[in-house]
Symmetry: C2
Amino acid sequence: MAAQASGRTGETRPGGEEPVAAEDRHAGCDSWRSVAPDAARRLLIAAVEAFAERGFHATTTRDIAGRAGMSPAALYIHYKTKEELLHRISQVGHERSLSLLRDAAAGRGGPSDRLAAAVGAFGRWHAEQHTTARVVQYELSALSPDHYAEIVALRRRTEAVVRDLVEEGVRAGEFEVLDARATALAMLSLCLDVARWYRPGGRRTPEEIGDFYADLALRMVLAPRATGRH
Amino acid sequence: MAAQASGRTGETRPGGEEPVAAEDRHAGCDSWRSVAPDAARRLLIAAVEAFAERGFHATTTRDIAGRAGMSPAALYIHYKTKEELLHRISQVGHERSLSLLRDAAAGRGGPSDRLAAAVGAFGRWHAEQHTTARVVQYELSALSPDHYAEIVALRRRTEAVVRDLVEEGVRAGEFEVLDARATALAMLSLCLDVARWYRPGGRRTPEEIGDFYADLALRMVLAPRATGRH
DNA sequence: GCTGTTGCTAAGCGCGTGCTCAGGGCCCCG
DNA sequence: CGGGGCCCTGAGCACGCGCTTAGCAACAGC
């Protein structure tokens, strides 16, 4: 991990018109391989991009269909409503990030190693898949009550993975924390927020961001050295 | 600060219909004392509540006017557009949180004390004023390009305050960080995210949240103890 | 060649949106 | 009582929204 690199903050317009980088688009498409007919997948990818740029409510079905190279009516052959698109995106995104987190948390090593791996993987995903992650993290409130409840269950399981890791480290005597639940939530906050500020081509690669956040997570749970406070 | 309190996570519907707590409503009103005619202030407070619950694009001008006890047309006597309401909210909110942060950062003590005070105050504000903060942090993209640029300038100044504090601590030999800018951003991420998950009446008071995050911020910058990693 | 199925489009319906405008009640000054 | 300024309302306009419907081209099976 490089130290103290210089560079711009790069806070640019989230809903701007800058073209999507090729790297970005490629990474985005790969995650949706499981979605069945080709036209349905193209619509889903178009919806992810549109929702990420403008938000769910500011995106029109005409915009989504246009990005997918289709007429507005084509959308309704593959999806019942605009909300169903959001639900599918949210579902697949949450399941993917949860499984990444679980795999890392179930790896080899002690609590420190596994916590670092989990936070690193979760943070890295939010950078690499920042377009999807933005929709997944910040458009929840547009879901129908039923779909919202379903997604919240996935989120609770995500929180539980990190919380369990922290508690395990405390029991093993490796970690010292004031509040395991709140500490776990703070780690998730760090990673989620990557989706808000990350821009491709910035100072840091997704991998560097993951590594940096893994280090921060360890600092949060390891007992601090005696400080210079008076 | 209490350790390891038990309780529910409390992730409830952001756009739900639960009535606003009295404590909440009171705290919200106090911050807008500077807004001039009484009717304009009532409209602003109504807009904050509506935007926080449903988001800018899902909120109608009829809804805002209704909450303020007025007809839809009354809104346009005090504000040119719906976007102007969002701009005023964003402006006042950013200025308020920036000035809180600056006051704490300019206080007495060494870098550790001032960093803890700054992060504590900033985190606490995002809990106390979570309704305003939600609009301020998550509805930026609905601003017009001019207004957006103005607000981004305020945000950069906010980032600079924390970054300068971290760099000062590094120069003083109190802190050890891999990347001062990224560390400062992480601290802000923690605090901003409070606006997303905080619910009044939860496990923690705003003050406890601020204190907890101040402690986390110090852990992030103080060199970690030798770890148990192999 | 005929029919059924699949995947799409052109056209458009009904509605709710942001916003406008003519006018009316109320208060202060004479 | 008259006149003017300040707030506010009732009614409604133009538009763009989510979504529907009728129909068409392509193709497979027989």
